[in-house]
């Protein structure tokens, strides 16, 4: 069963970003990190106004531009050109981390290599290369009110990324609140990891099979709706 599940179709990056973006409530200030997180600015639920911050020095940007339509002096943390949004303002990296370290942001969305049952985050040491790159991740993990991690549920080789204990050097201990993967949405609580949603075509048992810690199935656990 495990081998089949490793190969079984999972959500793509865009859909994962879309699912993450549903977490953003009206008026929240959200930092988006490199990789999948920066895609989230394309998927703000209609009718909500959310303010995106990027560590490189902008608050209040919008969707990623189409190729050839951006200004190279307006980029997100992934280096993608973005549209300005109403109320945008610009600042330097030092001020950016006054916001981040000072606890002024509601949410940060980051990628990860591993997350432990207790919410320990491992996302700065590139495991395959055994070389680290901290960037803004550590300040964000310590500073944001809520840390959402978006990542593939397992490695390319089929190994667990959601672990009982972290294998790699940690970015920050006990910091992750919510995990959105390509097959599930999992909340990190004091009692353990709670499965809230599973991808269309998946079952809680299948998600558990690819997750090292034992999942608590939420009473309202359901299939992700993505429409």
């Amino acid at each position: 069963m495990r081998e089949e599940l490793i190969k079984k179709e999972k959500l793509d990056r865009q859909v994962m970003a879309l699912r993450v973006a549903r977490e953003f409530q009206d008026g929240e200030m959200v930092n988006l990190g490199q990789g999948i997180p920066t895609l989230c600015s394309n998927f703000v639920p209609s009718g909500r106004e959310v303010i995106f911050q990027s560590e490189n020095g902008v608050m209040g940007y919008g969707e990623i531009t189409l190729p050839g339509e951006g200004d190279l002096d307006l980029v997100n943390a992934s280096g993608q050109t973005v549209h300005p949004a109403p109320g945008m303002c610009l600042f330097d990296n030092c001020e950016s981390f006054v916001m981040i370290r000072g606890g002024h942001l509601d949410i940060t969305v980051m990628g990860a290599y591993q997350v432990s049952e207790k919410g320990d985050l491992c996302n700065y040491m590139v495991p395959a290369r055994q070389v680290g790159t901290i960037g803004g991740a550590m300040d964000l993990a310590f500073g944001a009110k809520k840390v959402i991690i978006v990542m593939n549920h397992i490695t390319k080789e089929g190994d667990y990324r959601i672990k009982k204990k972290p294998e790699y050097e940690i970015t920050a201990p006990h910091c992750v609140s919510l995990l959105v993967t390509d097959i599930a949405v999992i909340e990190v609580t004091d009692k353990g990891m709670v499965l809230k949603e599973y991808a269309p075509g998946w079952t809680p048992a299948e998600v558990q099979e690819l997750t090292e810690p034992t999942l608590i199935i939420a009473p309202d656990c359901c299939e992700m709706t993505l429409a």
């Binding site: 490189n56 020095g57 902008v58 531009t65 200004d71 002096d73 307006l74 300005p84 330097d92 300040d139």
Partner: protein
């Protein structure tokens, strides 16, 4: 005599950079906010054993040339040419690409002090602001705390971080005047403003030198007091104007693909 911090050439601007100097280099990741021409000039000068302070360690000019960047050099120029002994850096490698820093580091040919990005910015500011040290929570319980003093303040554990001092800061700005006043453009402030004034000598590479009265006092981001030299890029940029929605400019949306193309090209070379 009128104050005049403008120098005529990049080589003149870096004439006193010396072997073993510590140099702060502005920018973040993409090349547009990086002092490319000053990096080239330092490389040309042939100084070595440098300690550099920067957010990233560079992707290399090839990637930026593919995107049509007129000034494509980033930190990689000093690294690939073995001018750097030690890099104090937040994001030394790329998730997408094995850069020259990573190759040298694996071979034990470059030292590295890795610093969380916000702590890096704040340590640079501390040098500029006459702060002897400061306490942050960032890194408590991680490798970052190793070898550092810790202190309990208000019931929470903090790490003592110290200023990063430097001999030179080289930065990029959009416009500058003879007083050293600088303005930036869009998200290209990055590490440039905080580094201005954090080193003994700050050298600003600007798209355009303007008359003293042209910059609005309300909008100057870097007061001239922090800048000792201003040098203009060889081909004055045509006025980029304000950032508008849907401006027709080359995009970085294909960032990952471009890196892949550049890597392929390198492999073929």
């Amino acid at each position: 005599m009128p104050i005049n911090k403008i120098v005529d050439s990049f080589d003149e601007a870096v004439a006193d950079v010396f072997d073993g100097a510590t140099i702060m280099v502005g920018g973040f990741g993409t090349v547009v906010s990086i002092p490319s021409c000053l990096l080239e000039a330092i490389d040309r000068k042939g100084v070595k054993n440098l300690t550099t302070v920067s957010n990233a360690s560079g992707f290399g000019a090839d990637i930026w040339k593919l995107q049509g960047a007129p000034f494509p050099e980033d930190m990689d120029i000093l690294i690939r040419n073995n001018k750097v002994k030690k890099a104090i850096v937040s994001a030394p490698i790329s998730a997408l690409y094995v850069n020259n820093f990573e190759k040298l580091w694996r071979d034990g040919k470059i030292e590295r002090e890795m610093v969380p990005q916000g702590t890096l910015a704040e340590r640079i500011r501390a040098a500029k602001a006459g702060i002897g040290g400061f306490y942050v929570r960032t890194g408590v319980g991680t490798v970052v705390e190793e070898g550092k003093e810790k202190k309990i303040i208000d019931g929470k554990e903090y790490i003592l971080e110290l200023p990063i001092k430097a001999d030179f800061a080289i930065i990029h700005a959009h416009k500058g005047d003879r007083f050293g006043n600088l303005v930036y453009r869009g998200t290209s402030r990055t590490f440039n403003p905080v580094m201005a004034g954090a080193a003994k000598v700050t050298i600003a590479e600007v798209d355009e030198i303007v008359e003293a009265s042209e910059l609005d006092p309300e909008t100057i981001v870097t007061p001239g007091v922090y800048v000792q030299r201003v040098v203009q890029r060889p081909r004055p940029a045509s006025d980029k104007g304000e950032i508008k929605d849907s401006q027709a400019k080359e995009s970085l949306a294909k960032f990952g693909e471009d890196i892949k193309r550049a890597t392929d090209k390198q492999r073929r070379a």
